[in-house]
């Protein structure tokens, strides 16, 4: 199946990443997930450069973006994605611990498609991540490939 489009998970904390993967495993969508550990890696992935230079072409079906990340933070990544005509159609879901109004407002202003606060309770976290993965990875119809640049 070469047509399976990946879910991009930007999460600097390896434990959070592992927990998220554990949650998605329950719904057998974990193998679609690509994990990036900072904002720079996310951009490298999206622009097919650095360690992702040789990856299969195509945009991810959705990007789960943490706000606080080393090197390039979540809001910066979001701004880059939404300012690039080719990346703009990718749905971006902010997945963060912050409930601060300022973060919410800024994220939506920059064009985030959803904003989810990570619940402390694991069961709720699992439910949230699972539902997000299913909705964005399975139920939601991704933007057509026609908008992809031909390199």
């Amino acid at each position: 199946m070469t047509t399976v489009k990946p879910i991009l998970l930007a999460e600097d904390n390896p434990r959070d990443a592992e927990l998220a993967l554990a949650a998605m495993e329950e719904h057998h969508i974990a193998d679609k997930v690509v994990v990036c550990h900072d904002g720079a890696e996310v951009l490298d992935y999206l622009y097919c450069r650095g360690i992702f230079a040789g990856r299969q072409q195509g945009n991810p079906v959705v990007v789960f973006l943490d706000l606080k990340m080393p090197k390039v933070d979540g809001l910066e990544v979001l701004r880059t994605i939404k300012n690039d005509m080719n990346l703009k159609p990718i749905p971006v879901v902010m997945l963060t611990s912050s409930r601060e109004e300022r973060d919410l407002a800024q994220s939506y202003a920059l064009g985030a498609n959803a904003y989810v606060v990570k619940p402390v309770e694991f069961q709720q976290f699992i439910t949230a991540v699972k539902e997000l993965g299913v909705f964005w990875g399975v139920i939601n119809e991704p933007p057509p490939e026609g908008s992809e640049p031909i390199e």
């Binding site: 904390n13 927990l19 554990a22 611990s97 409930r99 601060e100 402390v120 069961q123």
Partner: protein, 494 residues
């Protein structure tokens, strides 16, 4: 409308009948009291007092100057009169002298042309007399002299007239001795003496008036000089008062500004701190709970009951700490968040709160007593939080009652405040601990009795304080509790 009969110390203190010598208040010392009293005045009053003194000084100086000037004008009028009188006396004396010598020449010669000046005097005398009276009408002594003078002149003229008639009838021989000594020798002497007296008295009055005028002018000049000096001193003091005040205000303003900047910086730091708490503290908690769950799943049946209970406790503690962090963040936000300023219909607000709490109300027998609530100025979301916390509390602490009674009402106070209360028939509290109720993390019940983080009432207090109101509570163990808050009805939000 409140029916709470709380044990308030309303009993009046017993009156002591025996005298207590020690406690008699010492009389306040009078010396130095005035200065102290003045320095306690606010600046406005002091400046006003200064300007008042300046104004009063101007009025007093003007009044005295006016009086002195009036005296000067009056004196100058009297002086003119005096000079006229002196001149008139000269003329009268001259005319009388001319008439006398003329009439004697007539007596000797019989030549009627010598009678011209006599006749002129007879003709003019009533006029002279009237002038004299007019010029002396303000001094009774001079007036009396003029009256005597008038009589003497009349007698002189009469005597001379008699001599002239004698000369006409009997010729020179008939009046020879009269022609030598004069017909009215005695009267003439009297007239001269009297005129001298008149003249002298007038000159004396004139001199005394001149002295008075000079004195009065000197006084006026001295007064004006002294007054000007005093006004200058007063105005200078007032200026220094105002100047000092302005400098002080400027200093306070600068200090306030720098403190405000410090406060703003501190606030920013606090914001960054709570942001980091919100973001970073939650992650490890999530991991604790998450890995505990993963462990429980991975180990599965291999775990005994004890181990499972341990894992459950780890998970519960993590969740509880998560709740605490969330509540703390809400509490911190309530203090920093900008407030909306609109009119809030509390009746409507309570209705929506009850609607939102309907899940908590399921399976409970509750008798609600709702009194009408006022409209108040404030932030709807914050006030909603107040009612959510108070009503949730009431529900929580009445959970073990067979029938829950909750009453919500308000009293409008004359002080421009609305007092709102939420009363329940729950487990209540000991009034001994009433001061701890509204503190952060303060709880009066063990966690296994009633759940909670101890933030709810602290939030209520914070929100009400930001609205410019107060919070307090009344209750007794096992007899329910009443929570009150007051809100200003006029807009004075902080």
């Amino acid at each position: 409308m409140e029916s709470v009969t709380q044990e308030r110390p309303a009993t009046p203190a017993p009156v002591r009948s025996e005298p207590v010598p020690d406690s008699s208040p010492a009389p306040t010392p009078k010396t130095g009291g005035l200065m102290e009293w003045f320095t306690h005045w606010p600046i406005e009053r002091r400046v006003l007092a200064g300007f008042g003194l300046v104004f009063a000084g101007i009025v007093v100086i003007s009044a005295i100057s006016y009086r002195n000037t009036a005296v000067l004008i009056e004196n100058s009028r009297l002086d003119t009169k005096s000079h006229e009188l002196v001149q008139l006396l000269d003329s009268v004396g001259e005319a009388l002298g001319a008439a006398e010598s003329g009439h004697r020449r007539y007596l000797v010669t019989g030549d009627e042309s010598y009678l011209t000046s006599y006749r002129a005097v007879v003709e003019q005398m009533p006029e002279y007399i009237r002038y004299l009276r007019g010029l002396t009408n303000e001094g009774p002594e001079q007036q009396a002299r003029v009256a005597t003078l008038e009589q003497l002149i009349a007698r002189q003229l009469e005597a001379e007239a008699g001599a002239i008639t004698q000369r006409e009838k009997h010729g020179y021989e008939g009046v020879r001795h009269l022609a030598l000594s004069g017909a009215a020798k005695n009267e003439l002497e009297g007239i001269h003496r009297l005129m001298m007296e008149l003249d002298f008295a007038e000159q004396r009055a004139l001199h005394s008036r001149v002295a008075q005028s000079a004195g009065s002018t000197r006084n006026t000049i001295a007064l004006l000089g002294l007054g000007a000096l005093l006004q200058l001193v007063l105005l200078a003091s007032v200026y220094f008062l105002i100047h000092h005040d302005v400098i002080e205000r400027r200093r306070v303003a600068t200090e306030l500004q720098s403190r405000g900047e410090l406060l703003q910086a501190a606030n920013k730091e606090l914001e960054a701190f709570s942001y980091s708490v919100s973001h970073d503290l939650r992650a490890p908690l999530r991991h604790i709970d998450g890995y505990a769950a993963l462990l429980s799943k991975a180990a599965g049946e291999a775990l005994n009951d004890k181990a499972r209970r341990y894992l459950q406790t780890i998970s519960d503690s993590a969740k509880q700490m998560g709740q605490l962090i969330d509540d703390l963040l809400v509490f911190s936000r309530m203090g920093r968040q900008d407030m909306l300023r609109t009119t809030v219909n509390l009746d409507q607000l309570v209705k929506t709160v009850l609607h939102d709490l309907r899940l908590d109300l399921q399976g409970r027998t509750i008798s609600w007593t709702m009194h009408p609530l006022p409209e108040v100025p404030g932030d709807p979301a914050m006030l909603r939080q107040v009612f959510v916390n108070l009503i949730s509390n009431a529900l929580k602490f009445t959970a073990r009652r067979p029938e829950t009674k909750i009453e919500i009402g308000a009293v409008k106070r004359s002080s421009g405040e609305a007092e709102v209360f939420v009363r329940d028939n729950g487990v209540g509290f000991d009034m001994q601990y009433v001061n701890k109720l509204f503190g952060v993390f303060q709880r009066l019940h063990r966690n296994d009795e009633f759940e909670g983080t101890g933030i709810g009432l602290a939030n209520v207090r914070r929100i009400i304080h930001r609205h410019g109101g107060r919070t307090w509570a009344e209750g007794a163990l096992d007899q329910g509790a009443t929570f009150y808050f007051s809100l200003p009805l006029s807009r004075s939000l902080r």
